[in-house]
């Protein structure tokens, strides 16, 4: 009996020791793991007597009116200083062509600006130096943004920027040609359309006149990303599962383009068709043109208002099946700390200015650029005030609610995701501008993507 009791207590001691070891090692692992993550204290209070000096990098968003834009920025900073006179902001206007590479250089040096206006929608730059903004969010803040926009800045369970605006990735159509081709515009704008429908409409537009056509720009691979997105492929890579992009999706996208080519719905020289993008549209010969970015779309709005020769309409890119959703572009403010950390107060001051621009000043920008504000309390005001035809405005708002952005699951996937995007961009050009077959192109992309993923796994 006594021996039994001893044996039992020995077991208990052993189990207790094992549990203790597990708890202690677990706690230590957790502690040291946590030490690896740079922690910013969002609760810190700004000191009214201390001066905080911030740098803000932006682009001359009002094309051709740089002075007006700098005036806007200076006024915004002055308004901000009414509330926070001790937070000084120096701004720098970047070249569109070189802005992002300059940022990358500064990141390498560990000295990025405090805030960068990410108009090109790159969103993720540096896990180490980028500040997750959700740490500063009050309860309910997250819900105040377009959720797709938040999703686009979301990775590793954090939100890596303040979304400023969303822009559905629409294609531009000639309303009268599309209507003549028996397309129910209202229906496709509401519930979407599929490749088969698009192909038939393209054929009919082509049959309406010798010079009528569809024009895709062979040099802008966004169109391929639209076709992939419309197959549900917004993310090409996942940290856990590896490569998500599938050969079949890519093949189908190219086959769709090939079918259109074979139906001769494009101008005779597909290699040069991009040169006819604008002239053919404005001369009423192009039924659909794509892809179109924010600046070009604004140019279209302006020209349409001045000329009114061609009624433009915004149409969703077709999907492999009819579907309501469509790709969404999101721009926003990305916040950084520097390698030589300037302190929690500095980071908080950075957030305060970014939040001010994002919520207080963004309406003016969104109206001027005709993009939908991602901060929802601004949307109804935007809808009232933006200078757009009501039909276009309604379409954009509807598309914005149904948009799905490109996504990234983790910063660890970032480098390979970007490389895969480059491969896809090259593949798109190869399709139009070389003699390579679809099988060859798809095979190249898939092989190289798999190699990239494997190499990344090895590194890990």
């Amino acid at each position: 009996m006594l021996a039994n009791l001893d044996l039992k207590s020995n077991w208990l001691i052993l189990i207790a020791m094992v549990v203790l070891i597990i708890v202690v090692t677990g706690a230590l692992t957790f502690y040291f793991m946590q030490e690896d993550v740079f922690r910013i204290d969002p609760e810190v209070q700004l000191q009214p007597e201390r001066e905080y000096q911030l740098t803000y990098w932006d682009y001359p968003l009002f094309i051709g009116q740089e002075e007006e834009y700098t005036e806007f920025l200076e006024e915004a900073i002055a308004d901000f200083n009414d509330m926070y006179p001790n937070i000084k902001v120096d701004y720098e206007i970047l070249s569109f062509l070189e802005g992002e590479s300059r940022l990358q250089e500064r990141l390498k040096e560990g000295n990025p600006p405090d805030i960068y206006n990410d108009i090109f929608g790159s969103k993720f730059f540096s896990e180490e130096l980028q500040i997750p903004v959700n740490i500063y969010f009050a309860e309910g803040d997250l819900g105040d943004y377009n959720q797709a926009a938040i999703k686009s800045f979301y990775a590793d369970q954090r939100v890596w920027g303040l979304p400023n605006w969303v822009l559905p990735q629409v294609w531009v159509g000639n309303k009268s040609l599309l209507t003549e081709a028996d397309l129910d515009l209202n229906e496709i704008q509401t519930v979407g359309w599929d490749w088969q429908q698009f192909s038939e409409v393209a054929q009919q537009i082509n049959d309406l006149g010798r010079d009528n056509s569809i024009i895709f720009n062979p040099h802008n691979s966004q169109l391929l990303f639209h076709l992939l997105s419309q197959q549900g492929r917004e993310q090409f890579l996942c940290q856990e599962e590896g490569l998500l992009l599938e050969a079949e999706e890519l093949k189908l996208a190219f086959q769709f383009l090939r079918e259109l080519q074979e139906k001769q719905v494009f101008p005779e020289s597909t290699q040069e068709m991009n040169k006819q993008l604008l002239p053919d549209f404005w001369q009423g010969q192009a039924g659909v043109i794509a892809p179109i970015n924010m600046w070009l779309l604004n140019n279209f709005y302006q020209r349409e208002a001045e000329q009114q020769r061609v009624d433009l309409t915004l149409i969703p890119p077709p999907g492999i099946e009819q579907q309501e959703q469509l790709p969404l572009e999101v721009g926003g403010l990305v916040l950084f700390r520097q390698q030589e950390y300037q302190g929690h107060e500095h980071s908080k001051a950075t957030y305060k200015f970014a939040e001010f621009i994002n919520r207080q000043k963004n309406l003016f920008l969104a109206e001027k650029l005709k993009v939908v504000p991602a901060y929802l309390p601004l949307q109804s005001l935007w809808a009232q005030e933006v200078d757009l035809r009501s039909e276009i405005k309604e379409d954009i708002l509807s598309y914005a609610q149904r948009g799905t952005p490109k996504q990234l699951d983790s910063f660890a996937s970032l480098a390979v995701q970007r490389q895969i995007e480059e491969l896809l961009a090259q593949a798109y050009q190869d399709f139009w501008l070389t003699e390579k077959s679809i099988a060859e192109i798809v095979n190249e992309v898939m092989t190289e993507s798999q190699q990239l993923v494997a190499a990344q796994r090895e590194e890990e």
Partner: protein, 310 residues
Amino acid sequence: MIKKRIVVFDLLIALLIFSNGLAVAAGPSCSCEESRDLSLQSPHLEGHDVWELQQNLKELGLYEEEPNSVYDWQTHLAVKEFQKNYQLEVTGVVDQETWLDLGKVLNKRDNIIPVSQDIEAPTGEVSLLIDAYQKKMTVYEDGEPYHEFPVAVGKPSTKSPVGEWAIIAKDAHWGGGFGVRWMRINVPWGIFGIHGTNKPGSIGTAASHGCIRMFNRDVKKLYSWVEVGTRVKIIGERDPIEVTHDLEPGHTGKDVLLFQESLREHGLEPGYTDARFGSDTEEAVRELKYIYGLQDDLEGDQNTFYILNL
């Protein structure tokens, strides 16, 4: 054999130096005409100089018709009246002296006077702005106005070339019937420059074939202030320009100039608007196409013309 080689070598060197000298001194080939004596002849003398004479006489109220570039009876009478009014020998012949006398009278009336001789040369970087509206040249030193000169600019049918140019050749010995000094600017169409004039009455007016005329005394001063490479900006009216074809790197012409100006209005930086599609303009096109997602090549094509509203 060696002697022969030396002679050939010397000849080559001489040719090189001489041809270089010729290139720099290639002054009088601008469209300006050398002065000639004007008088009533049969058939009547015609030309731009007659037009200028009629314009001068008209300004003095001595010639009432519209200048027609023909030295006709009316012109002859007006010349004689001028000579009579200003106590000159009444010959009806317009020679160098008559042009100078006309200049003196007109400039005195309009209070246009040459620069004072004791002004010092600017020490910083010099650039020139020629305002064809005001008929005046402003010399800038390090971007700040330093001095102004009255000038004559191209007449409405042969306007001075609006754009951002540079002096590419200087000739101190240019002159004769034209006026003194010559500074050629790099306009790719025609030959244009800044020079003195023997028709001082034209200063303050739009009278030339496109060149910028200055008082001889002024141009000597300016000549010593500028060098090859000095920037010359001309503003003023311009005949409409039409872009009729795609523009490629290396192209030159008025259409390139308009393209450059439009790029700049669009917030891009095509470099100097000098009608040359050079590397700066290429960069501006690259940026334009990048912004608008066209991203194909560096040509000024129909897409870019639509965007720029050309």
